[in-house]
């Protein structure tokens, strides 16, 4: 299945892009996205904490994904 990706803040700079796409086996979870992205972008392996949102909602790493889901990866927030 195809997963759409969006990156923010330092992760966007480490990856060198604001968005991307990956192909994962059916039944994959958020953990599968993190493993795949970290494989290609080593700087992400050194990060203490990566927050994940699927279709605009916070999720944990065990969440199962569906074809076409939009997964956003970002560091802890600093608004306000």
């Amino acid at each position: 299945m195809r997963i759409r990706l969006r990156y923010f803040a330092s992760i966007r700079e480490f990856v060198g892009a604001a968005e991307g796409e990956i192909e994962l086996p059916e039944g994959s979870t958020v953990e599968g996205v993190l493993e795949t992205v970290k494989k290609y972008h080593g700087r992400l392996r050194d990060m203490d904490r990566i927050l994940v949102a699927v279709n605009g909602e916070y999720v944990d790493s065990g969440t199962r994904l569906a074809d076409g889901d939009l997964v956003a990866l970002f560091p802890p927030v600093s608004g306000g």
């Binding site: 969006r6 923010f8 803040a9 330092s10 966007r12 700079e13 203490d48 904490r49 927050l51 949102a53 605009g56 909602e57 916070y58 956003a72 970002f74 560091p75 802890p76 927030v77 600093s78 608004g79 306000g80």
Partner: protein, 140 residues
Amino acid sequence: MIEVTRKDFSVDEVLGRLRTGRMGALVTFVGSVRDSSGGRPVDRIEIQVYEEMARKQLEAIREEAMERFGVDEVAIIHRHGSLRVSENIMLIAVGAGHRPEAFDACRFVLERIKERVPIWKKEITPNGEFWVEGEHYEPL
């Protein structure tokens, strides 16, 4: 009222829209760009936002604050883009019958924003550019 915008705001204009005769207390919080951070000088900041998600989160925080504290109205405006020292970053305005719930709701909204709304600051300093991430600083 929720806004995520590059444009500046006027506190008076927002209060004018918010205010009703039921309100005996209007509490505002304005976040402003400070000229230093952790002892280092800051020239300006850049704010990045995951806009669709930030709007949803801000709307949920507004509704939670109104329900939890029984205040009449909450407005939140958060800016993004490049901001100079002393520029407005954010406005929270709460209108309520009385001051205790207005102050409590304003503080609640502020802490929730800092904890979970997908917005990030980057400090542009004479010594380089630094993302502010939670309580940590990530040098580029």
